[in-house]
């Protein structure tokens, strides 16, 4: 627990054991599927085997006749008349007139055992009229593509666009044509990325209970219990406050557990089964087929550069499909794509396109990795063409505080230059490379986020402190919040307990998303703690009979300040807390709002690869993540975010993809063939935590969860070019693709 030398803090920056560590290494921690309730039933879901089909008839009679079956629901059990995103959520929960993708839920059943529920689900008969489907984004945007949801386009879409375009985006600044005319080199390339899945190891699971009186409760693995509550209430037509949602421990989310998929089904079944609780646990196959993978993208990028590497103009046109519903993160992808670069002239165009695939959800910096793949690949290729060091080109064009961002706003304090300099100084860049080996670098960006936040804290009778937060702890946020509160109070880390609470305990909190938990809940916790400190100072002042403004809080105790300094011995938190019952009652603090002062973060990755010229297989030899954290509250968990993000990016770059057959069915809905990186695929992941403190946070936090997945895609493509001379423009860069490219280039 050595304190980092350069900080002025006692606790912030140290690496204590996480508060939930013991539960998680002993198997005691309770995740979504670990809860059982008295009288509980088990549910199973019937899913469409077709990518696009009209539902002609659903016959549930055989299932209902099976002994032990207590309820069957179809769309007919859900309210009508929803619109907009509420309708989208309901439609995605259970299909109405049409099944829109392979895996789309059509019916659900609850029975007295899991096996019985599965048997019953197999007895439900559904007649489909199979319709033409479309999977690939470039096919889906063609004028003659099957129209998936006529009328779904919003007001941004000009007349005459193809039927599946539901949103159109067009923004920029400067004069790109003039900018390209100034350039010594103009290059334009097209890139594609395939859909990937967050791949959290815990499948979605919940136990839902809903009575005929409209009151209910739910235990669920989620990143955001209030989102689950509101979405379930909307989809089922319930009064939101009548539903109480308790988050379980969460086995990974990465954005994929910020929304609902099957949760309303358990409530609908429960209501129909007389209010008995209903447990619903997805299989891995259901997770891959019917939760929220990323969008897939098709992207054109054009950049102009002078001989010294200065970018004169840039243009991007991105097309993304996010499934059969609007919501592909094409906007975010465009905002982030050129964010590392100071651009006088830039133009972005985006299309959100429907396809017969599951409704996409957020995945770690949604959109940003795709945009970075395209832009960072082209910047690298142009740097090579001009004989320039790719890091120097990024330094030449890199944004600084006060620069206008490519997407419009003016950057506050940011740490891109510091990040690039730290990268340049790292010894990994000096390691000599052997035959068939190459080195690639790339930068990446994420805004970070704040959002609706409500936190309460209270001092206990013995001077320990409890903190109630609404952001589930996915990767150590209890530890980071406890560190900040303990630092603020001046008490030991172990004396703070951080509880992630259910929806009845606080006002609305957004989920743990956007890298916000340590920033937003942390900032609110520090403000709330400040209120409690102020109250403790007031109690001390009352005891001493001095003005409360003449008391300061130092090292966990109130002490007289100013003219009264030294007149009374300090009153410790323990002493004040011990008699709070007689001095005015409970001492607590509460803060809610939209914490301001979000600090964006940049990262830069360097990867060394070796490509087997006979098989096209890429091995990651060495990997370096450099990223600006603002301030690392618990450096181990900051490193963990960097490493985890990088490895997810490695998977996306090399092997992970949704593979569909001609029939529109997902062919790899199993971890055997949806190939996430395994331990033996990887080296250690080196990290450098750059700390350019965010002035908008009491300890300088920016947020660290998301930026790390952004640079790996282009960094690996750039390394493969360095190793082979081949420019791979379509992810994933699987061995068959790389070998085919080698053969085509006469090198295989």
């Amino acid at each position: 627990m050595a304190k980092d030398e350069f900080t002025e803090f006692k606790l912030v920056g140290t690496r204590p054991d996480r508060p939930d560590g013991l539960d998680k290494v002993t198997g005691r921690a309770r995740y979504g599927a670990d809860m059982s309730m008295p009288g509980m039933l088990w549910a199973a879901v019937v899913r469409s085997p077709h990518a696009h089909a009209r539902i002609l008839r659903i016959d549930t009679s055989k299932a209902e006749a099976l002994e032990g079956v207590k309820a069957v629901v179809t769309r007919a059990d859900f309210p009508e008349g929803l619109t907009g995103e509420e309708w989208n959520l309901q439609e995605n929960t259970i299909a109405g007139d049409k099944a829109l993708y392979d895996g789309h839920a059509v019916a659900a059943v609850a029975a007295t055992s899991a096996l019985l529920a599965q048997d019953a689900a197999r007895l439900i008969e559904v007649d489909y009229e199979v319709l033409p489907h479309v999977i690939d984004v470039d096919d889906a945007i063609k004028p003659d593509a099957p129209a998936i949801r006529p009328g779904a386009a919003d007001a941004t879409v000009p007349e005459g666009m193809p039927a599946n375009v539901v949103r159109y985006i067009d923004f920029g600044h400067g004069d790109v044509d003039a900018g390209f005319a100034e350039a010594d080199l103009v290059m334009e390339r097209s890139y594609k990325t395939e859909a990937t899945h967050q791949g959290y190891i815990e499948p979605h699971a919940c136990v839902g209970q809903l009575g005929a009186d409209g009151k209910g409760e739910m235990w669920v693995c989620t990143q955001g219990q209030w989102y689950i509550r509101k979405m379930c209430a909307d989809v089922l037509g319930l009064e939101t406050a009548q539903l109480r949602v308790t988050p379980s421990e969460i086995g990974g989310g990465f954005g994929g557990k910020t929304t609902i998929f099957m949760e309303p089904l358990s409530l609908a079944l429960s209501r129909k089964a007389g209010g008995r609780p209903v447990k619903l646990v997805m299989t891995r196959s259901e997770v891959l087929r019917a939760t929220g993978p990323t969008a897939s993208a098709s992207m054109d990028v054009k950049i102009g550069m002078t001989k010294d590497g200065t970018i004169t103009a840039a243009r991007a046109e991105f097309r993304m499909q996010g499934g059969a519903f609007p919501g592909a993160p094409v906007d975010m992808a465009l905002y982030c794509a050129f964010a590392p670069y100071k651009l006088k002239n830039v133009h972005h165009i985006g299309y959100d396109v429907l396809a017969n695939r599951p409704k996409c959800a957020a995945y770690r910096a949604p959109g940003s990795p795709m945009g970075a793949f395209a832009v960072e690949s082209l910047v690298d290729e142009m740097s090579r063409e001009l004989g320039l060091d790719p890091l120097d080109v990024r330094l030449t064009n890199g944004v600084r505080e006060g620069d206008r961002a490519s997407y419009g706003p003016t950057f506050g304090s940011i740490g891109l230059i510091e990040t690039l300099e730290a990268t340049k100084a790292h010894p990994n860049l000096l390691v000599p490379l052997g035959p068939n080996q190459g080195r690639g670098i790339a930068a990446g960006y994420w805004f970070n986020h704040s959002g609706e936040t409500s936190v309460s804290m209270a001092i206990s009778e013995d001077g320990s402190a409890q903190v109630s937060v609404g952001t589930p702890d996915i990767g150590g946020s209890r530890a980071s919040i406890a560190l900040m509160v303990a630092e603020t109070l001046g008490i030991p880390y172990e004396d703070v307990r951080v509880n992630v609470v259910e929806t009845g305990s606080l006002g609305v909190n957004e989920p743990t998303h956007g890298s916000r938990a340590t920033f937003a809940s942390g900032k609110a916790a520090v403000v709330a703690t400040g209120q409690a400190i102020k109250e403790m100072c007031r109690r001390a002042a009352a005891e001493w009979g001095i003005d409360e403004d003449a008391v300061e809080w130092v090292n966990g105790a109130a002490q007289p300040a100013g003219p009264n300094a030294g007149k009374f011995p300090p009153l410790t938190i323990r002493e004040i807390a011990g008699k709070m019952g007689e001095t005015g009652g409970p001492i607590s603090g509460h803060h809610e709002g939209l914490p301001e002062g979000v600090g964006a973060s940049f990262g830069c990755h360097v990867v060394d690869v070796e490509v087997d010229p006979e098989t096209g297989h890429t091995t990651i030899l060495r990997y370096l993540v450099v990223q600006d954290a603002g301030r690392a509250i618990h450096p181990s968990y900051v490193e963990g975010q960097y490493q985890g993000g990088a490895v997810q990016g490695i998977g996306w770059a090399l092997n992970e993809e949704y593979i569909y057959g001609e029939d529109g069915r997902l062919q790899n809905a199993i971890f055997l063939d949806y190939r996430v990186p395994v331990a033996s695929d990887l080296p250690m992941i080196d990290t450098v935590i750059v700390e350019v403190p965010n002035p908008g946070h009491p300890f300088g936090v920016r947020g660290v969860g998301e930026t790390g997945i952004t640079p790996p895609l282009p960094a690996i493509a750039n390394a493969i070019q360095d190793a082979t001379g081949l420019r791979m423009t379509h992810l994933p860069m699987t061995p068959p693709k790389v070998l085919a490219a080698l053969k085509a280039a006469g090198r295989g």
Partner: protein
């Protein structure tokens, strides 16, 4: 649907349960015996979150039928600590921040313990291949591998 009576030893305790022959050992541990420390991440033997020892052999409990446990010994994560005394692997995982969400952790700990019992000084590569069937999506494996190496060193009596 007739159930089968199974008598088996789990973490040293003799236990009995009734199993449908279609139920996996994982189902029986979790739903019949209330031992929810072993997790189901895939149900196909591809993620290792359900790792247990069956008569000492490391297996995926999702690939074993509950009825196959008859007369055997089963060791799960719940039996890894000796009362309040954690196994060195458990302690090192917390110390090294080798878990983020913690869902894969029980399976990885059970698998790593099996490794260290047959190889007290594994190389980084040996650890990575031994644990290749234990997916972790959060950590990128770096801190897991370090924690296992450090625990092995402690078990060998070497200072970390």
């Amino acid at each position: 649907m007739s159930k089968i009576h199974v008598t088996t030893t789990v973490n040293g305790d003799q236990v009995e349960f009734l199993a449908d022959p279609r139920e996996s050992l994982l189902d029986c541990l979790r739903d019949r015996l209330g031992l929810t420390g072993s997790k189901e991440g895939c149900g196909t033997g591809d993620c290792g979150a359900c790792s247990v020892r069956l008569d000492g052999t490391l297996v995926c409990s999702c690939l074993v039928l509950g009825v196959e446990a008859e007369g055997k010994t089963v060791e799960t994560i719940e039996g890894m600590a000796n009362g309040n005394e954690l196994h060195p692997l458990q302690r090192k995982f917390v110390e090294h921040a080798a878990l983020q969400c913690g869902f894969c952790t029980p399976g990885i700990l059970v698998a790593a313990k099996a490794l260290l019992e047959q190889n007290d000084n594994p190389t980084e590569t040996e650890i990575r291949y031994w644990l290749a069937g234990n997916l972790c999506r959060c950590t990128g494996y770096d801190k897991i591998v370090r924690a296992v190496m450090d625990a092995a060193a402690e078990l060998r009596g070497e200072a970390a």
